[in-house]
């Protein structure tokens, strides 16, 4: 098996997205996980990234204006179906 040298924290923060996307090859993934297991700073970093993703998922879009909504429904009524 190809052993990968120890990763530095500065490298971990650049690999976080690849890790979360599941696109790492297994030796790199093993090195990444080994680093996390012994590094509180990087564990907190990953936690902050995941918290950011979670909060982003709660951002709701603004509602449509009643006027615009009415225009869309009107367009639907006027649409000539084949």
């Amino acid at each position: 098996m190809n052993a990968i040298r120890d990763l530095a924290c500065q490298e971990i923060v650049e690999l976080v997205t690849e890790f979360l996307e599941g696109t790492m090859d297994s030796p790199l993934r093993a090195a990444f996980e080994a680093h996390l297991a012994r590094c509180d700073g990087c564990t907190e970093y990953l936690d902050q990234i995941e918290a950011t993703i979670m909060v982003a998922g709660t951002i709701e879009p603004e509602a449509l204006s009643p006027d615009f909504r009415a225009r869309l429904l009107e367009a639907f009524r006027d649409f000539e179906r084949p």
Binding site: E21, E50, A51
Partner: protein, 228 residues
């Protein structure tokens, strides 16, 4: 760690629309829409209209033009309804139609968002975290944390101000990073769906997502520190 707190929360709070598989609801609504049912259309507008308008606003300069793009999108949906095969989710299909229309509009407005040109966001060579946060090459642990991040107090994650701060940070991103993080993290699309909607390669999508998430995390951390 991997099954950490935020991760558990992220599963718990993911909006229901995040699922990539077409829901039975959508299949039902589409059937009704094909039969010309206006209520089905009203329901689809309520369900996807606000997200479509938000997405359109990433490509064009005014809300009025964004509304026109959304209206054009629905027209294209009426026309192409028979051709929708359900191979992607309805949401992804709608987003792709909208993005194509919005890009055309944006080009006419000469506000082109250069999705294919990755370098165009001017962020090449930038780092996820400020280099000053790490130990230098002469230290015992080069590249280790000099100023490590601190824990996120769980109770703060659901605060409205946190959400607003993250929303502001996303709004400040370069357009292509903003589009990718909006589709992935805000709308909950998969990587494959986001690539499909934006016409990006897998690698470009991931690089843009990485830059976007890194910056938004940094803004989140600054907020946590300011308000401690």
């Amino acid at each position: 760690m991997l099954g950490g707190r935020a991760r558990a929360l992220s599963r718990a709070y993911r909006p229901a629309t995040a699922t990539p598989i077409p829901t039975d609801d959508d299949a039902e609504l589409l059937r009704a829409l094909r039969a010309g049912d206006e209520h089905a259309f009203a329901e689809l507008v309520a369900k996807y209209g606000p997200s479509l308008l938000r997405l359109a606003q990433l490509f064009v300069s005014s809300r009025a033009v964004a509304e026109e793009v959304v209206a054009e999108t629905w027209l294209a949906v009426f026309t192409g309804l028979e051709r929708f095969e359900g191979r992607s989710s309805l949401k992804t299909w709608l987003f792709r139609i909208l993005t194509n229309k919005a890009k055309t509009r944006g080009q006419r407005e000469s506000r082109t968002v250069p999705f294919s040109a990755l370098a165009a966001d001017g962020d090449e060579g930038e780092t996820a975290v400020d280099v000053d946060r790490f130990l230098g090459p002469d230290s015992r642990h080069p590249g280790g944390w000099a100023v490590p991040p601190r824990g996120v107090p769980e109770e703060r994650l659901l605060a409205r101000e946190v959400r607003e701060r993250i929303e502001t940070a996303i709004a400040a991103l370069p357009p292509n990073q903003r589009a990718v993080i909006t589709l992935r993290d805000v709308e909950g699309l998969s990587a494959e769906e986001a690539c499909n909607v934006l016409g990006l390669s897998e690698t470009n999508q991931r690089v843009l997502l990485h830059r976007a998430r890194s910056k938004v995390r940094a803004a989140f951390e600054r907020y946590l520190e300011e308000t401690e």
